[in-house]
């Protein structure tokens, strides 16, 4: 009897079908803009004159010579590193809490995931109001509790100017980034914690280990590779991010919160110099690539079985 052959029985065909959406996404929305940015970076293209003339590394030298760029680059690295430290601490604590048994866990998890599920720009508009120079609810609370206002503990003024002083604006931006990225890192760490075999944890308990020892000597070392991945995710997201500062500070006051993503946008799109904008954003690429390779190798080396 002749057997009918269905197209869906063909492994290759089905494989290709399943891969296509992901490939299309990467090619069209990541690959193409990326190649275009590289092409722009080696050209003299501007918004006014879209001819691509090859100019070699001229844009890169120009950018590197630029003092603002250097400061922006340094600010970006500083923001990223400082916020990663806090993200890692908070994400670990929260992941441990959320993998314990307690009533209302489901609701707590749901509430907590919201910052990450909310569209960034929308969330930032919320923070813009929370940190408003005049009407900040935080200032209001501090005022009511005597931390602000005449004879206030923190300041005699009625406001702290969250987004307007050099120190506070940087702290605010880092804080908001931590607020926004901690949920993702937490979810990744939670997945890691719940993938630890229960036998191992039961064994630790029978061996006489208490909470802290089990945490520090069993759980954390076992999720170390996953922690590295979580860190990599949030680092790369943060390094290239411009939305937070674009909405909150526009890089100000002066240049204190100007980061690479925003600067590239400001030079390339708002300033019309597409070539230099591309060159600025591409400066991050080799750095991120090296970091990603290093971290992935660390993770796979630390991986157990």
């Amino acid at each position: 009897m002749a057997r009918l052959s269905y197209p869906l029985d063909n492994r290759r065909l089905v494989g290709i079908m399943f891969l296509t959406p992901a490939l299309l996404y990467i090619l069209l929305l990541v690959g193409f803009p990326f190649l275009l940015a590289i092409a722009f970076g080696f050209s003299d293209v501007t918004v006014g004159n879209t001819d691509l003339n090859f100019v070699g590394l001229r844009n890169y030298f120009a950018v590197w010579e630029n003092d603002i760029f250097r400061q922006v680059f340094e600010t970006t690295i500083r923001f990223t590193l400082v916020s990663q430290i806090f993200i890692l601490i908070f994400a670990n604590i929260l992941a441990i809490i959320f993998t314990q048994d307690f009533t209302g866990k489901w609701f707590a998890r749901f509430i907590f995931i919201l910052p990450w599920a909310t569209p960034v720009s929308l969330a930032m508009i919320g923070w813009l109001w929370m940190l408003d120079t005049k009407y900040s609810p935080i200032d209001y609370l501090l005022l009511q509790t005597g931390f602000l206002g005449p004879n206030g503990i923190l300041s005699n003024s009625r406001n702290l100017f969250w987004l307007a002083t050099p120190d506070l604006s940087q702290i605010s931006v880092i804080f908001v980034q931590v607020w926004r990225m901690t949920p993702l890192a937490t979810v990744i760490l939670m997945a890691g914690l719940s993938s630890i075999p229960t036998d191992i944890l039961d064994q630790a308990e029978v061996d006489g280990s208490r909470f802290m020892r089990t945490l520090l000597q069993i759980k954390l070392p076992l999720i170390l590779p996953i922690m590295v991945i979580a860190l990599l995710f949030s680092m790369i997201t943060m390094f290239g991010d411009m939305t937070v500062v674009y909405v909150l500070t526009r890089g100000g006051p002066v240049d204190y919160t100007r980061v690479l993503g925003l600067y590239s946008f400001q030079v390339g799109i708002e300033g019309g110099n597409l070539a230099q904008g591309a060159a600025i954003s591409l400066f991050a690429f080799p750095l991120l690539l090296a970091m990603a390779i290093f971290m992935l190798r660390t993770a796979s080396r630390a991986e157990v079985q």
Binding site: P197, D199, I200, Q203, E205, V206, G208, L222, V304, Q305
Partner: protein, 350 residues
């Protein structure tokens, strides 16, 4: 003297009665095997002894102290899991040292004492050359030794072993079984060993506890539970191939295939029961012939005979033969409860 005393112990998971009223006394220094089919509650029972699972009802005493509500670390018990549960990120030394460090305060060990203890235990289990390795660099047999070393290093009052040999291949398993037994004898530790493998149970246990559906079916030496099963479950669970069971009017009776032999091989057929046996199929297993057939009057109940190959009796397919079983080898069971019935009380039934 019993070191562990378990009284009316129960554990229900919602409607599942994993352990359903277990009473058990474990003697100091004995090798006790808990034997039962998969899902009968062996692991749950062990976890309750270890303190990892809180009983629904009942009590556990260890060394005369009621430990029912105590956490694992206050019970002086250690456990080897089926998966060995070695800490994958620690080398063998740190794996073995882990319980010592965790209980340092209770056991009052300093660093030097810990090193000494780990090295001694490793030497006993012949893994002292592996102390720097990670678990993934070890063979299955070596992992099992590391797990046992880690369980032994604190000199627990009871060592719980949950199917520790089931991850080893057949050849290693027999070897590991002997070593485990020797080790238990020489260290004189009380061991509770869980298995679903009757051969393992028979070979290892000073006493065997047979479990089914959360309940203890019988406790006894390997010989006594094999020769003198308390009920039909124990009778058929032990032995391979398992005991033949045939129905009569008011009871069932059974006999083991190795006791079911051609009549001519019995010395005094007066003490035996004769059956007309129709042979359907014969399998040669080297030293034995396994015969499949039917006893007259029981044509729906496949009956097996295990006849040594070296006896010169020819058994042909589709032949009719006279087989016999010695009266003492026939066991009688209640039709409904499956409990053993004494032969005398059935004297008139035949």
């Amino acid at each position: 003297m019993s070191i562990v005393q378990i009284t009316s112990l129960k554990k229900y998971f919602d409607s599942v009665r994993a352990v359903d009223g277990v009473d058990l006394a474990i003697d100091q220094g004995e090798f006790l095997v808990i034997l039962g089919p998969s899902g009968c509650g062996k692991t749950t029972l062990m976890r309750m002894i270890a303190g990892l699972e809180k009983p629904t009802a009942g009590h556990i005493e260890i060394g005369g102290e009621d430990v029912t509500d105590l956490p694992p670390r206050k019970r002086g018990v250690s456990m080897v899991f089926q998966s060995y549960a070695l800490y994958p990120h620690m080398n063998v030394f740190n794996n073995i040292a882990f319980p010592l460090r965790a209980q340092r305060r209770e056991l009052k060990f300093d660093k030097r004492a810990i090193r000494e203890k780990v090295e001694n235990t490793a030497r006993v289990l012949e893994i002292d050359s592996l102390l720097d390795r990670r678990p993934r660099q070890l063979s299955g047999g070596q992992r099992q030794r590391v797990a046992i070393a880690r369980a032994m290093v604190t000199q627990p009052s009871v060592l719980l072993l949950d199917e520790p040999l089931s991850n080893l291949d057949a050849k290693l398993r027999a070897n590991a079984r002997d070593e485990l037994k020797d080790f238990q004898r020489s260290s004189n530790i009380t061991a509770v060993f869980v298995t679903h493998d009757q051969i393992e149970a028979m070979g290892l246990g000073d006493r065997i506890v047979v479990m089914s559906e959360g309940k203890i079916q019988q406790i006894g030496t390997p010989q006594s539970i094999y020769d003198d099963p308390a009920n039909e479950f124990v009778a058929t669970f032990l032995g391979s191939p398992s005991m033949n069971i045939l129905s009569a009017k008011r009871f069932r009776f059974g006999f083991r295939p190795e006791h079911f032999l051609p009549k001519t091989l019995h010395d005094n057929p007066e003490n035996s029961r004769i059956f007309h046996y129709y042979v359907k199929r014969v399998e040669y297993l080297g030293s034995d012939r396994l015969v499949y057939g039917y006893v007259q009057g029981h044509e729906r109940e496949l009956t097996l005979a295990k006849v040594p190959s070296n006896v010169r009796v020819s058994l042909d397919i589709e032949g009719d033969y006279e087989f016999a079983v010695h009266n003492r080898d026939i066991k009688y069971f209640d039709n409904i409860s499956g409990q053993r019935i004494e032969q005398q009380s059935l004297a008139q039934a035949f």
